[in-house]
Every structure is written in C-alpha cells, then in structure tokens.
C-alpha cells in the first residue's frame, strides 16, 4: 500500500501505457477480451484519481502528491509530477472520459488490438501534460498525445480522414515548434526546466538585464507569443480553429469524445498553467487582442455551427463557441489579474473546461449512436425520429440543453461566471459575445428540430433501415455524464471549491 500511496500520480499516468503494452502480448482476434481488458485498465486510473481527489487538501497552496525523479540530468530536466486544483480537475476529467470513450468503442470490430492500445497511450499522453511540473516533460507528453490521435483519425475515421488527420497533425506540430524553442530558451537561461522554480525565478528577473544579448522584455515577449500560438492552435482560438471541425467530424466517435472532451483542454490548460503565471505583464498587454479572438470564436463559432447540415460538424463547431468562453475568461483575468472579477472569470473558465468536457463528449457520443445506426450524419436525412427512439431523444435533449447552457445544468454556472467576471473588465466584448449565446440556442434547437422533431421520415420507421433504440451499454456511457451535468448544475460547490482555491492561490 505504501508504494501506491507514494506513487499515486505515476500510477495514474503509467497504468494505461503499461496496459497497452500488455495488450500487445494478448492473443490476436479476441475482441471481447480487448474491450473488457482495456475498460478495466482504464478504470484503474479513474479510481486512483478519485483517491487523489478525496485526499487532496484544497486549502493548501502549491502542488500536492509531488514526485520527482532524475530523468535527464545533463540538461537539468527532472521527471517532476504534481497536481493542484487546476490540474486535478483536468486529471479527473481525463480519467473519467477515457473509460467512457472505451465503453463507447465496444462497437469497434476492426483492428481492435491496435485501437485499444492507441487509446491507452493517448490517455497517458494527456495525463502527462496535466501532471507535468517540468517543461520538458510537459512538451514530451504534449507531443506524445498527438501520435495516437493521428492514427485513430487516420485509420478508424470516416471518408475524409486523411485530410483531417494530416491537418490536425501538421497544424498542432506547427504550433508547437515555437513552444519547443521557447522551452529550450528557458532551459538554457535557467539551467533547469522545473516549473515550480521557474514560477519564482522568472518574474524576479531584473528587467534591465539582457539575456542572450536581448533585453529581458523582448525575450519574454518572444517566448510569450511562442507559447500563445501553440496553445491557441490547440484550444482552438479563432482563427486557428479550422482543423477542429475536420478532425472532430472525421474521427471515430470515441476519438471525437476525447478530442473535444480533453484534447482541447490541453490548450486552455497551457494558458492557465504557463502563460498567466509566467507572463503576467505580456498577458495584460495582449489581453485585448485575446478578448477579440475569444469573442470572434464565440460569435463566429455559433454562426458557423448554425450553418451546418452535418450533425457532427454542428457539434464540432459548438466546441469553438464554447471554448471561446474559456478564452474570454482567461483574457479578462489576464487583463485584471488579482482582482475579484478576475478570480470569478477564471473560476468560470476552468469550470467551463470541465463542463464542456462532459457535454461535448456526450454530444459526440450521441451523434455517434445515431450514425452507427443510420450511417449518415446529414441532418436533412433524419426528421421526426423521436417516436422511434424516445429514450435516445430524451437523452439527446438533455445533453443538448447542457450544451446550450440551460440554468440548472452545468454549462450555465460556468458561462454565467465567465460573463460575470468579464463584464466589468471587458464590457464591450462580453456584450458582443451575448450574440453568440443567442445563436447557441439557435443551432442547438436546429439540431433537435432536424433529428427528433417534425414529420417522421418513413425511411427509418420500418424494414431493414428501422432505427433501433439506444442500447444499455450506450445508456451506461451517458449516465455518468448526465449525472455530473445535473449535479454540477445544481450543486457546483464540490468542484468549484477546488477550482476556486487553486485560482486564489495561483493568480
């Protein structure tokens, strides 16, 4: 037990990877075995992160459950892990969504072994980013996550998967080039990559000094933009968003769940973990620009979603719209760091990350459920399906309402907090983003209208095309999501407490 106690984070991080290696040695062709083994393996990190969640002391500042190992001594990089309220929330989201995504993948029958292995490696990659307290480790995991996702889209995706996976890979890689260089620069400057020590050292640098022959302010500005672009692509911030609808739409269902649920959060997490603490001044200077982009994402994302005729693409664009609120909260906080408004905005932004993880994963899954049965995502080809699939319809309306930000469900709390926090700081942008909120309603209702309501499309009513109701396994995927959506909507204190303490201590 002692070993488990002291290595909780490493276990959460590496159990999936280890399980992936074990799968390699399992006999081929045993699809059922792969399904259940992977599901079991992915539940271990979930249980462990629950342990961490309950043992976590929110009132303390700084990182907890820290572990540090010698890794690359020559360049001063150590394998340093740890969590605070911000990263713990994201770890929980990841370990929660992965088993659900795997359960959602039970319908996959093509090269199951490889698929499941990739999924587990993906989980390790994402968790590593959230846990890393060493910039080099951070970068390693940042890139590690890309590879499985690329193959998942490229091998198990739908028609346009080559284009989508290449766009996704090249765009993200292109974005992270600057990140790598900036991290290297920090390493050269300080002789280490340790985030905890950087937090202290970085802001106390004498601004009159020169680094590498350049004034400190210039170096910081360059590094700031290198970080920002990498994270902006990942979030994605408008106008770097066009990879998202392609990648989300073409990915297999579970891949889209994880893409929207977790991968997008990596970018926002980067903003919160690295940019705000390391570059408060630059962030304040450029907060206005970031707010413009966030507002553009909210408004244009909503409009673009409204224009879609492909159900999955509609949901994909909704991510642009929702993540815009995260960025708006970050921009507001960057502009007025330290004020109570900023705290509220950040609380909202982080909660919105978690909430969007739940609702977007749910929405993508529900799109997948109907796609698996009808083999189409064209909204025009559905219509009036509610009587055929009443349970599915109810779940879809529920999840859609969460996505729409209906009060009483989770999305409202976070959006309200962002709006409340951003309003006194950035009133104009907040006001404009209300237009996006209005059109969120429009596209959500459009989706429900075209799929469930209206006259029944007889094609799906009988014969070989008869649409079947959502099955128990699929309901099981949705139940935890819906329960959390409702719980956070009614009583968010359990999670907001952790987030709030982290925000107060960090910024």
């Amino acid at each position: 037990m002692n070993f488990i106690d002291t290595h909780l984070l490493s276990l959460i991080l590496f159990v999936p990877a280890l399980a992936a290696v074990i799968i390699l040695f399992l006999p081929n062709g045993e699809n059922k075995l792969f399904h259940w083994f992977t599901l079991g393996a992915s539940l271990i990190p979930f249980v462990l992160s629950l342990v961490v969640w309950f043992r976590f002391d929110a009132t303390q500042s700084g990182f907890q459950f820290e572990e540090a190992y010698v890794w690359y001594e020559a360049i001063g990089s150590s394998f340093h892990l740890g969590v605070d309220g911000l990263s713990l929330t994201m770890v929980l989201l990841t370990t929660l969504l992965t088993p659900l995504a795997i359960l959602a993948s039970f319908s996959i029958s093509d090269r199951v072994k490889a698929y499941m292995m990739l999924f587990l490696f993906l989980e390790t990659g994402m968790l590593g980013v959230f846990m890393a307290l060493d910039l080099l480790i951070f970068f390693v995991f940042w890139e590690v996550g890309l590879v499985p996702m690329f193959f998942l889209i490229n091998q198990w995706g739908s028609a346009n998967r080559n284009y989508a996976s290449m766009k996704f890979l090249i765009y993200t890689m292109g974005g992270s080039l600057g990140l790598l260089l900036a991290i290297q620069m920090l390493g050269v400057l300080f002789g280490h990559f340790d985030l905890v020590r950087l937090y202290e050292g970085w802001n106390s640098l004498d601004p009159t000094k020169t680094l590498l022959g350049l004034p400190v302010s210039t170096v910081k500005a360059i590094a700031f933009w290198a970080f920002t672009i990498a994270f902006a692509v990942k979030v994605p911030v408008w106008p770097f968003h066009t990879w998202l609808p392609d990648a989300h739409t073409e990915a297999p269902t579970a891949g889209s769940m994880i893409l929207a649920g977790v991968l997008l959060k990596l970018g926002a997490y980067g903003f919160l973990r690295l940019i705000l603490p390391l570059y408060p001044n630059e962030a304040r200077i450029f907060a206005g620009a970031l707010a413009v982009l966030a507002t553009a994402a909210i408004v244009f994302g909503a409009f673009a979603a409204y224009a879609q005729t492909d159900f999955k693409r509609l949901v994909a664009y909704s991510s642009v719209n929702h993540m815009g609120f995260v960025v708006l909260g970050i921009a507001a906080a960057a502009f007025a760091a330290g004020t109570n408004d900023a705290t509220i905005a950040l609380n909202g932004a982080i909660l919105q990350m978690f909430n969007h993880g739940l609702s977007a994963a749910g929405m993508f899954f529900l799109v997948g459920v109907i796609y698996e049965r009808t083999h189409t995502r064209d909204l025009g080809k559905f219509g009036g399906l509610f009587p055929l699939v009443p349970v599915y319809g109810g779940i879809l309306i529920f999840t859609s309402m969460a996505s729409l930000g209906l009060p009483g469900l989770n999305g409202f709390i976070s959006e309200f907090l962002v709006v409340r926090g951003a309003w006194p700081i950035l009133p104009i942008y907040t006001a404009i983003s209300m237009l996006g909120l209005l059109f969120t309603g429009a596209y959500i209702l459009k989706g429900i209208k075209q799929v469930l309501h209206g006259p029944l499309n007889e094609h799906w009513a009988r014969g070989e095309h008869k649409l079947t109701e959502i099955n128990t396994r699929e309901i099981l995927v949705m139940v935890p999501l819906m329960a959390l959506i409702l719980w956070i909507g009614i009583w968010p204190a359990w999670i907001l407490n952790v987030i709030n303490n982290a925000v107060v201590k960090l910024f």
């Binding site: 409204y306 009036g384 009587p387 709390i413 907090l417 309003w423």
Partner: protein, 723 residues
C-alpha cells in the same frame, strides 16, 4: 416543520414528479397523473400554509420569511465572496405564490380530462400528433344489439410525458417566485423557457408546433441574454444579487448616482433596462410579442400555464420585483410605460380580427400584460401586482374554458366525422351555451372579468386602479391609451362570447358539442370563484358606497413590500366613469355588432393588416431570420472559414510541395545527385576504364610493371633520403 424549511420544500414535489415519471412510471398513465396531481397538491398545500403564515406576520415587507441564505458558489478568498442563495416570502411573493399554487393545481387537474384519461387508445394515433379518436362499438339500450360504430375521443399517446413536463414547468415557477436572489430567479425563468419549448412543441410531429416551439424559445432568449448581462452588471456593481441586500438605501443610492456610460443612463437605469428587455421577451411585449400567439400550438392546458400561471406572469413578476431599482431612473421608467401602453393597445387591435378562439385570448394576454407593464412604468406598483393576480385567475379560467369549448367541438367533429371543420374557429360555433352550460357560465364570468365588468368582477377593480393611477398622477397619454385598449378589450371579448356561445349553432359539429367531464369543469368553477371574489380584497377606500365596507387589504399588504409604503391614489370620478363606459360600452357594442354575424365574410373587422398581425412575422422573417441564416452559412462558414482561413492554410500545402520539388529539381537533382553523386561515380568510372588497360592478365606484364614501380620507388627514396 419550520416555515423556512417549508418554503424550501414547496418547489420540490413537482420536480420530483418530473423525474419519477420520466424515469420510472411513464408507462403507467394513471400512476403518472396521480403523481403529478399529487405533487401539485402538495405544493399547493405548502403554499397555502406559507401564505396564511405570511398574513400573520406584522410588517412582512420589513421582516420577510425565509431565514438565512446558504452558501452556493465559492468565488474568492473569503467566506464573504460566496454566492449565497435562499428563499424569500414577502408580500409580493406571498400573493404571487397564492395565485400560482391555485392555477397550477387547477391546470394539472384539468389536464387529466383534457387529455382524455379513461378513453380508449386511438385507432391511428402516433406519439407527437394530437389524438384523432377511437372507434368503439356502440351497444344500444337492448343488449347485444350493436347499433353501429362511432368515434369517441382517444387518450393522448404521450399522456405521462405531458404530466412530467408540466411538473417541471411548475417547479420553475415556484423557484422563480420563492427565490431571494436574481440568479436563482433566472434559473427558474429559464427552466420555464425550456418547458414552454417542450410543451408548445408537445405535438412535435406537426411542423407548425415544432416551429412555434423554436420561435418561443429563441424569441424569449433574445430577452434572456440581455437580462443575463443586466444580472452580471448588477452583480459586479453591487457585489450581490440578493433582493434583501440590493434594495437597501445605500446600494440603491449608489446605483442611481453612478453613470453607466451608455446613453446618459445611470447604472440603475441601464441595469433596469437590460432586465426589462428580459421581461419584454418573457411577457411577450412589443417588439418581442410574436411568439405568444404561436404558442397556441401546444395543448390548451399549456396555454393556460403559459398565459396565466407561469411564463408570462414571470416576466411581469420580475420587473415588479426589481421595481425599487427600475424606478430609480426616469428614462427607464418612461421606456417601461411606453412599451406597456403601446403593447396594450397594439395587441388589442389585433385581437379584434382573430377568429381562432385561443388566438383572441393570446392577444388579449399580450394586451393585459401591457396594462401591468404600463402601470409599473407610471409607478403604480400595487395596481400592477393587483392586475397580475386577477388576470392570472381570469385568464387561466378563459383558457381552460376555451379548451373546454374546443374539446366539446372536437366531440362534435368526431361525431360527424367531418375533419375539415376547425374546432377552434369561432365562426364554426354558436349556441354552445345550451350544450355546455358550465363552460358557458364560467367563460362568461372570465370574459366579463377580462372586460372589467363593473363591481362584481375582479378585473374591474384591478383595471380601474391602473386607470385611476394613470389619471391621478397625470399620465394622460398612458391613461387615454389604456382606456382605448380597455374599450377594445371589452369589445373583442363580447365578440368572442357572442360568436361562441350565443345565437344558434352555425355548424352540425356545434350542434353535437358536449359538456366536458368534471375534471375539466371543476377547475373552471373554482377559477370563476376567484375571478369574481379576488377583486373584493382591493376595493379602494373612497369608492362610492362600497369603499370602506371591506378594508383595502391588498393595497395595505402588497404596498408593504416596498421600503416606502406607496400612497393610495386619491379617488376621482373621471377614471371611474371612464372604466364604466369602456367596459359596458365595449360589451354592448360587441354584442350589438356580432349578434347577427353568421360567417367570417360578414365580419367587417376582417381587415388584412389586423388579421395578419401587422405582418410582424413576415417582416421579422425577412429582416432577421433569413439574413441570419444567410450570414451564418454564406458569410461565416462558406466564405470566412472555408474560403479565407482554409484557403490560407491550403496555400501551405502547395507551397511546401513546390518548395520541396524546387529543392529537388534545382538543387538535389543537379547539384547533389548529378554533380556530387553521379559526378563522383562518373569520375571513378572513367578512371577505372582507363586503368583497365593495364589489367591484361599477363603475368610477365605485371612483373614488368612491378619492376618498373620498384625501380621508380627505389629511385625516389634514393633521391629524397640519400641525396
């Protein structure tokens, strides 16, 4: 149980009913409606207990019930920065709770009969469409001698679902009324928005119902996003959303003096305006009124729910609740008064030309809400509340009554089998007073209350108070506008009563109409009781003859909500005469004109511009809806994302490709491959070729060559080393 706990518990039964029905009992219709009606009964009981206790509290306005709020959202370093939520029962919420609990219970009960509980399952009914009736074998008086088949109403296929939804709806309203802060009020507000969407679109397979549902949701959402901004503004300006804390002199004073920077309004003015836009959407005021008439697509109990008990009353309730804040800025108040008065008249003019029995009522709701808003805008706080309450009773009555009429007519339609007859068109009715006596008498009471029939109806007292306030405080324009609107109200109400109930049946269907079951008529009777008696609690003190007989309880009680008890307006005979004239005149005129009109063609008020509601739907469609979709699709998606942004991205592909091939064609191939690679190979090859000459295979030649080399090396050594 303490009163505080009881107040917390009031909203819960309906929401529990919602979850129970959805998750467990939706297959069992009887159990589902038992749960729902039982839940409404529990909430009603709780509300009545709380109401009675509230009556017993001295100075309830200053010492409202509700206890301490609890911590909800942690938002900063200290405990003070928690966002707290709680419940509050002050005079305003007490009287609102009273009418909400009653109307909700009545509507729940009525729904049992309306959805044909106890009737057979329809022959061809589908979920998502209204039931079409079931064929039954009828046995005559002598047993075992079937006299043939006939069609009777069939039970609603989604019966349980309906009760689940109205349960959630009631929950939203109770939350809204009992909240002690604007945020949970907004939660209830939006839950009702969802429920109105679900219920207007209850028969979702009908495209008209589906579109009406979306229209209702989106139109009210326009108001909601402004309201959300107002809430955010208020919260950041004052650090709280709690009514108790906002309505204190210090905070109100600050809000009134701080400029907002927009249009010269004070912070209070702008916040008030933003919140009021929320009301414009929710209470269907001009220019966001378009959704309410279309909301008729839902089942009739839903219309009663939306028009009386919950949704639109919520909008008015909110502005009344925020009155201390809104009244700080005269500009905002002027806007409120203008919108209210204009809407009151505007909607009344449309109502006179409608032939659908429910649509007339829909426009009358918009118009009556305009009365309340206008009253508020001129500062007549108590009058606005009074009219809100009386209107809720008589409008719930009228809607349920119209539902009963339609139900009776549908019976007739099923009997004749002629489905071309629209059971909602008043010109297909006539003479129903004999077929449906209970419905007739209760509808008459409701209609007279709506018209403001003097002395006996509640509507008279509340409307008269609004007019008296407008007159007494010198708001002549508002007074005249409302008086004209009141005249039209009486006129179209009498038109409706005349066409529906009086005269002779104009169709076979009307001849075969039938009175509805007790579950539908009992609520009508109870609501009719309140539509008459509720007015007597607010008779002005100086009213001729009647004044002072009973104390003006309503004014005393509700006036206590405000920090400064509002003065009752001085009695004047002119507004009284005006109210008498418009009510009686309108009723008489309506009867005189329509008693002999037998078809729509004979009706001179079928003016296209009124009939088509001033073409607002068409204008909005052209100006907002279609351009928005065009903008979304053509500009944002196709042009910006796909052409510009992806276009730029797609440049990288070919450019990289070209760069790659350029490097290959102009550097790799010629320089590396040809020059260095092939070049070195060629040189070696050439050299090898030349050397081949010496490799002849003859041993003598090799020895000879070796000797020559040996001599050469020896000579070189000698020359360099020894010499």
């Amino acid at each position: 149980m303490t009163t505080e706990l009881l107040i917390w518990l009031i909203p819960l039964p309906p929401v529990l009913a919602f979850f129970l029905i959805v998750l467990l009992t939706n297959k069992n219709k009887a159990l589902s409606h038992t749960i729902a009606v039982g839940a409404a009964l529990l909430s009603w009981l709780g509300s009545m207990i709380v109401f009675v206790q509230a009556l017993g509290v001295e100075h309830l306005g200053e010492h409202p019930l509700g206890g301490e709020p609890i911590n909800w959202l942690p938002l900063g370093e200290s405990v003070d920065t928690y966002f707290k939520i709680g419940v509050l029962v002050d005079p305003l919420s007490a009287v609102t709770l009273f009418f909400v609990a009653w109307t909700v219970l009545m509507i729940f009960l009525y729904s049992v009969g309306y959805h044909n509980f106890g009737q057979p399952v329809g022959d061809h009914d589908h979920p998502g469409l209204p039931p079409h009736g079931a064929t039954v074998e009828e046995h005559g008086h002598q047993r075992s001698s079937p006299v043939g088949k006939h069609v009777v109403p069939s039970i609603e296929p989604m019966y349980s679902r309906f009760f689940a939804f109205i349960g959630l709806f009631a929950f939203g309203m109770f939350v809204l009324v009992l909240s002690d802060n604007l945020l949970t009020l907004f939660v209830g507000w939006e839950i009702m928005g969802l429920c109105s969407y679900l219920l207007i679109g209850f028969w979702y397979a009908k495209p008209s119902a589906r579109d009406a549902a979306i229209k209702a949701f989106i139109t009210t959402r326009i108001g909601d996003v402004f309201m959300l901004l107002g809430i955010a503004y208020l919260y950041s300006a004052t650090g709280t959303l709690s009514f108790r804390e906002i309505f204190t002199e210090g905070i109100l004073h600050t809000l009134a003096t701080v400029p907002s920077g927009v249009l010269g309004l004070s912070a209070a003015g702008l916040i008030g305006l933003l919140l009021f836009i929320g009301t414009i959407g929710k209470s269907a005021q001009f220019p966001l009124h378009v959704w309410l008439p279309d909301a008729m697509e839902g089942p009739t109990p839903v219309s009663a729910m939306i028009h009386a008990a919950t949704m639109v009353s919520a909008g008015v309730y909110m502005v009344i609740r925020m009155f201390p804040l809104i009244s700080l800025d005269p500009t905002t108040m002027a806007v409120v008064a203008f919108i209210g008065a204009f809407t009151a008249l505007f909607a009344a003019t449309i109502a006179v030309a409608q032939n659908d029995i429910k649509r007339v009522l829909a426009y009358s709701t918009i118009s009556q809400l305009g009365f309340m808003i206008a009253a508020l805008g001129i500062g007549a706080y108590v009058a606005a509340v009074f009219h809100l309450v009386t209107h809720a009773f008589f409008k719930a009555l009228l809607f349920l009554g119209s539902g009963s009429v339609i139900h009776g007519m549908e019976h007739g339609v099923l009997h004749t089998g002629n489905h071309k007859v629209d059971p909602q068109d008043m010109f297909n009715m006539g003479g129903l007073r004999r077929k449906m006596p209970i419905t007739f008498w209760t509808f008459l009471i409701g209609g007279f209350a709506l018209s403001g029939f003097p002395i006996i109806t509640a509507g008279f007292w509340s409307k008269d108070e609004i007019l008296a306030d407008a007159f007494g405080h010198g708001h002549t324009a508002v007074f005249v506008t409302l008086a004209v609107a009141a005249f039209l109200t009486a006129f179209y109400t009498m038109r409706q009563i005349t066409l529906t109930f009086l005269g002779e049946a104009r169709t076979k269907e009307a001849e075969h109409a039938q009175e509805t079951p007790w579950t539908m008529t009992l609520p009508l009777v109870i609501l009719a009781f309140f539509a008459v008696t509720y007015g007597w609690v607010g008779i002005p003190e100086h009213f001729p003859a009647l004044g002072g007989l009973v104390p003006n309880w309503f004014h005393e009680f509700v006036g206590g909500t405000l920090a400064e008890h509002p003065e009752a307006v001085e009695f004047s005979v002119w507004p009284l005469l005006t109210s008498l004239f418009v009510a009686l005149g309108g009723l008489t005129f309506g009867w005189l004109v329509y008693r002999n009109v037998n078809s729509a063609a004979e009706d001179r008020l079928q003016i296209p511009v009124l009939k088509n509601k001033y073409y607002f739907d068409e204008i909005y469609d052209r100006v907002f809806v279609k351009p928005a979709y065009w903008f979304a699709e053509a500009v944002i998606y196709k042009f910006m994302d796909q052409s510009v942004i992806d276009g730029i991205l797609h440049i990288f592909g070919p450019v990289t490709d070209r760069l790659g091939s350029a490097i290959r064609n102009y550097f790799d191939l010629p320089v590396i491959n040809r020059f260095f690679g092939d070049g070195s190979a060629n040189v070696t090859y050439w050299f090898g070729g030349k050397l081949r000459a010496v490799q002849t295979g003859r041993i003598q030649q090799y020895l000879m060559l070796a000797l020559v080399v040996f001599i050469g090396i020896g000579a070189a050594l000698y020359f360099f080393l020894l010499a």
